[in-house]
């Protein structure tokens, strides 16, 4: 299990690095799906099978399908790849990489003081998660439902304005 954890962690990191450096949006999306699947394997080795299943179904399934829909709707061609090549000069990576590395080193230094290990021997079963979700966190579940409703209404509103957009522009 330990070897599986390290292998899938490396896969996740490499795939994520590929996501942020790709020029073609669809290629980046496929690497992102690989990264999320690797994260699901990490969850499984850490003794969280329910969350691993949710990661595959909701993240790698539903959310990535939304991204694919939008990329297909935008109908991006080869010219966007050339545009990305113009935007992504090597110099643009220096500042963000430096800042990100500093933050990462700080986080790892802080974390390395803590002791303990994740065995993954004790699996937290889905029923435990469900009981905790609907007893201790009941208010948060209700708030999450309101957040989803707000997201639905917001996306509908923005999409509707998009639909009436060409009708306003066509006469002019």
């Amino acid at each position: 299990m330990t070897a599986i954890f390290y292998i899938s962690a490396v896969v996740a990191i490499v795939a994520t690095a590929m996501v942020i450096t790709r020029r073609n949006a669809v290629h980046a999306l496929l690497y992102l799906i690989v990264s999320l699947l690797a994260a699901a394997v990490v969850f499984f080795t850490l003794g969280a099978p329910f969350v691993a299943a949710l990661e595959v179904i909701v993240y790698a399934g539903a959310i990535m399908v939304l991204f694919i829909f939008v990329i297909m709707m935008l109908n991006l061609g080869q010219h966007t790849v050339a545009q990305e090549s113009r935007w992504l000069t090597p110099g643009i990576w220096v500042g963000p990489s430096l800042l990100g590395t500093i933050l990462l080193v700080e986080v790892i230094l802080i974390c390395s003081r803590s002791a303990g290990s994740v065995t993954g021997q004790v699996q937290v079963s889905p029923s435990e998660v469900g009981i905790s979700l609907f007893s201790t966190y009941l208010v948060a579940v209700e708030l999450a439902s309101m957040l989803l409703l707000a997201g639905l209404v917001g996306a509908y509103h923005l999409g509707r304005r998009l639909k009436s957009g060409p009708a306003e522009e066509d006469p002019s």
């Binding site: 994520t16 942020i20 959310i63 990462l104 999450a144 923005l158």
Partner: protein, 102 residues
């Protein structure tokens, strides 16, 4: 069966989060910025699950479910905004929408 040190699992979350942060800072294409935000949210979820797995409590997984919910709501609104931006400016450049003119 040997176990994974806690700091290694947290370091994975930290590396993923830093990669997402670099992506948001470096890219100009707004779809890539949204993908990087997804990477950062997923990294936060990894940290929660690792902590919940260390103390063998379900709370970490519950919080991951909330992060998942938030990511779904965020990505639906964000992609609607991407479509709206592309429709108005005919480009995915985040710098195109730099003025607040209504």
């Amino acid at each position: 069966m040997t176990s994974v040190p806690f700091e290694h699992a947290l370091a994975l979350a930290g590396v993923l989060f830093a990669l997402g942060l670099v992506g948001v800072l470096a890219r100009r294409n707004i779809i890539f910025m949204l993908m990087s935000i997804e990477i950062m949210l997923n990294a936060a979820g990894v940290a929660f699950v690792v902590a919940g797995s260390m103390w063998e409590k379900p709370d970490g997984q519950v919080l991951f479910i909330f992060i998942l919910t938030m990511a779904a709501a965020e990505v639906s609104v964000g992609l609607a905004l991407v479509l709206s931006l592309y429709h108005r400016f005919k480009t995915l450049d985040a710098d195109a929408a730099s003025t607040m003119k209504g």
